[in-house]
Symmetry: C2
Subunit: 139 residues, 2 copies
């Protein structure tokens, strides 16, 4: 159980939305910024892409992600569950099987995440080259 | 001056790109993941959106962002400069004027970032409600 740090955020946003119909990233009081932190998390991005292919077990996710600490992966999955992006289902088998699956909201997130992924993959070489040029240039 | 933590990343990526023509987010050795960390940063997202309207001074950026520590903003801008997303120009006035402007690469990043922003603003209320329901439900 986690207690919410800022109770009433939903109310505040809903009140704001009656006026504006949507969140505003440039209002420091708007929870949209908290959402941005979550979907800006590298593992969330990778998990949404992976799970878009279907439900997966924890060990499968780890295998596909490579070099992620189990604790970090568990934390990301729990946060995504809390946000309503994934569901976690335990099957009564021996040994018990635990599967993660995207919710409708999680699947909906795939489109903007794919846009970011494509951009990153397309421009990675250029950015790395910029970094190396910057680091070797005059201070 | 900053020294690069992993020299040869650009070469490795370029070598990989000769085969695949682009980065691969699911290869833990591919620098695309580092790029994802950068463009996943909340302030980078907000700065790209702000600067898409034209060059801005540090104080203007601070005013628009609200509740960002000057040190944090400076760090984000320096990382974006290093990545080749923004340029920093000092005008010899009294007092000196310092302006930040998006590069062509930075302007190009606006499209995927706008997709994320629109999604966050559209779904913020639902995610906040999910969080509250989760936190008040059974453990």
């Amino acid at each position: 159980m986690v207690t919410i740090a800022q109770p009433g955020l939903a109310e505040r946003l809903r009140a704001g939305q009656r006026q504006d119909e949507r969140g505003n990233l440039f209002d420091a009081d708007c929870p949209t910024r908290l959402i941005l932190d979550r979907i800006g998390d590298k593992w969330t991005v990778l998990l949404v892409i992976l799970l878009s292919e279907g439900p997966m077990r924890f060990t499968e996710l780890r295998t596909h992600l490579g070099r992620v600490a189990p604790k970090v992966l568990t934390q990301s999955l729990r946060r995504m569950e809390r946000d309503g992006l994934v569901t976690r289902e335990v099957f009564a088998e021996v040994p018990p099987r635990v599967e993660y699956e995207l919710t409708e909201l999680g699947r909906d997130l795939l489109a903007p995440i794919d846009a970011v992924r494509l951009w990153a993959e397309e421009h990675a070489a250029r950015i790395v080259a910029n970094r190396e040029r910057h680091d070797s240039g005059p201070a």
